[in-house]
Symmetry: D3
Subunit: 202 residues, 6 copies
């Protein structure tokens, strides 16, 4: 139908506009911790995806798929908000897969199928990629908590502890150790060149 | 060596901390447009990845790989800043691939190899996935410009025009049409149910 | 018990600290409208209380009680977030009275009784004071939408319409007319002195 | 006169728009303490009103009236700014009651009478309700200072000391103790159930 | 005295720390106009100084001295706040020269003498340099108002009008014309090369 | 030519609008240090100019000229961004004098000559005024780092160290000592009156 020749693109763009909310929406838990202007949900999702693809390479999972799962993992929060842990006593939420289905319903079927399958995989948490993606989510929260502590917040320990406790893969635990023992500014000071093979030739 | 048993994880975490800068760093072009508190580079990268995977599904590219290319596409900006267009008259930058190589050098080889290959693919811009990822980057900028215009900014047309002019795929052009003709809040008003196949069978 | 001699004050302070979250937490609907740094829930509650006491004076309700109902009307949002309208499709929330009961349980009984009774009255919406307080809540949202429109946001009409539609008292409708026809800066230009009774009597 | 049939509502709305400034205006003292984006005057007024009604219940004052006095206690600051302590060496201000009279002059007489009487009572500081409201103002400042200290600010002690020194009621002192000994996040960890009545042993 | 050998540097640093407040403190008038996060007083002072030295070159005044007068022209606002116009009905302020005298009293005499003389010159408004500096102050406000209008604020006309009305020099009026007729982004589009003397003579 | 009678004022205003970007643009190094909303380049330039004129008085340089050099010292950053130290490994920049020449080319010749000469003097760093202005730039950074540390940032030592190491004048070193040993809020507590001349009356 001529009027509707761009209808599926309109549907896709509707979801893209919707996802723009995540660039403005705060991760609400940090308000509890006293942070006035917390990171956005998009900020968190970005680094989750970056951590996810790195962790995948360390764990032998598919890095590209993990990055996609991570990009999508909080996209439902435009409609159900970033529900903090304490809210779970008071709120009952529809499964994320239902929200996602509504979000992509008006888009091209190929897009809808892709996204609903990825969200379903993440939510089920059974594939190695989903496990790694979920570890990336927790690890990103831990790293952010460490960073806020370096900014002076003295109320972030519970986020560090609960994130750490949820990690499943060995590599995520190794990265968590590195985060807790490391220094956010280490990258500004280039590492010394790798040790040379000792020069003990006669 | 026992002291260094976690050295590659430290190297990986060093890059993760570095990427945290992108959650705070502004997309500098919007300062020109008069926006006081622009989106972060991470905000932009997140939605670029989301658009990228959708566009890949529409164009028959690999959505997961596109999402990974998009997540990585601006990670060099911790070290070279978000260089605005006008700065190109005054600054000469090392290729992004060089910056990336430095960023991941201290991490696990599997991580370093993965990321350097992905950045090289994006920078070369030859594979379908790279083409789609680059369109996603431009399209995200266009959509953000449209959103700022809805917030009152009357100085964003040049970002819309230059982004649009750079688009290469058919689907990106269709999404750009949808963005320019659409309404950011359309998603809050559920679409009417899809037209039923007319039920005139006997 | 000596250790606990200040236990009820600790309980009261626990709720006061909790309410501090409302000074940082954004009214989430404005993120949908494109506002980057929306007002806090506390900001909204403050002016709701101010409008409430004025409206009470116009409607013959008890202004002090209305102001108290308004101060308390969103205090549950520390635990259940500011649930936007669209979220109601996906979330089921415990009644506000239950949340409030938990929030004040550890405080002095006189405080707990006061607050639970006030929240119950507001939630029931039957007394004139509750009706006026609820109108104040809607009217405050309408005025904020008008103010954002004066700042350039062109996406606030739905907040104006839905707020207006919910108003019940005559005075609230008169104030809404004044908001829609008025100018936020009128107060900076002192009104001319009130017209004198025309002095043409013989 | 038909043109003016809504004139008193216009006058009321003029004050409501004026009060909107308090949602944007910062509490200026925190700039001295180094806080970049301090709470708004509205943020402070909201929690002052909440503390006020709680303190009233503890001290046997009228909680509703205290909440109203607190909501109004800084509304003059749209016109005279939030004058920091040091400014008192350099500025002489008209009494708040004069400012208030100007602010409400164009509104309905019932509103003007209500507000001028409440402000006069607060400024006189003689009734129990005014004493409690003024303690709430000081206590809110103390609690905010404690919260900023938990965020890393090491320059807030003078606000704690001067606020504490101004408290008059016993309950306010007890709450101040609770604030200084307590933890802003205590509310996230539910208290253990209250000790059971002792076990009826003989 | 040995303990005090750095006392005058301590006094100078005390004023430097004090001036740091101006980097956080907002120009309060913009809150009236609806701007949520206005420019800082330092932001304004910086561009005032830049405009001042340019205007001086156009008017034949001493650019260096004008820039110094501009840098200092609002430094008293740490102690007396940025008093908006309406506040002048309610507040009486000590002369700025008195405030400045207190601010620099503990610094080196050469510093104190320099600053008190410059402030006195600016406040007297009689030298050409002071006249130009005062025009720069007004012009900067006008330009900022134009910029906010380009961001969507529709309430800035009174700042444009009152600033313009206060301008005294011919060059300031010419710059005001340029601001009102110009486009904030003109600088991003390089001017065409200056017309060449046409070279077609025989 | 009649159409162009205001062309040089348009050119001057074009630079004034361009400099408005510096009121929005962040000092990027602080993002590395973890600061979410850093000071603007204008904020920094303002206090640099204030420090510069004070330092000039202490060192016997021309305070007015130093203040002008400081106001202009970062104005190129609209076009080349605030390039952080690490970026110097990756970026090669045109000299600041070239950028400045482009910025003022369309303005009145008297303005262009003034500004290009001042920037050239600052960049050459040979006159006493340029040396003092450059010390002021470094000292301002050191003081800001101290202030961020008082706000809780524990990652600012490298900015303190590198700024301090670059100082050249004796007075700048004395001020640095005062900053490191001092307290940002000292100015709020008036110094005791200066010691009286010893009481040598008979």
């Amino acid at each position: 139908m001529t009027d509707d020749h761009n209808a599926d693109a309109d549907g896709a763009m509707s979801f893209i506009f919707e996802a723009g909310v995540l660039k403005r929406a705060a991760r609400t838990g940090w308000w509890f911790a006293g942070v006035k202007q917390p990171e956005s949900i998009a900020d968190h999702s970005f680094r989750t995806a970056l951590i996810g693809l790195m962790l995948a390479a360390m764990e032998g999972a598919d890095p590209a798929r993990v990055s996609m799962l991570c990009v999508l993992h909080d996209t439902q929060e435009t409609r159900i908000t970033d529900i903090p842990h304490i809210a779970k006593r008071y709120l009952t939420a529809t499964p994320n897969t239902t929200v996602t289905a509504d979000q992509v319903a008006a888009g091209p079927p190929a897009v809808a199928d892709l996204i609903t399958a990825a969200v379903a995989e993440y939510e089920a948490g059974e594939t190695l990629e989903a496990i790694v993606a979920r570890d990336a989510d927790k690890l990103e929260c831990l790293v952010q908590a460490v960073e806020y502590r370096h900014q002076g917040s003295n109320n972030v320990q519970r986020w560090i502890d609960s994130s750490r406790a949820a990690l499943k893969t060995t590599s995520a635990h190794r990265l968590a150790d590195a985060a807790l023992n490391g220094q956010p500014l280490a990258w500004l000071t280039p590492a010394p060149p790798p040790e040379q093979p000792s020069d003990t030739r006669p």
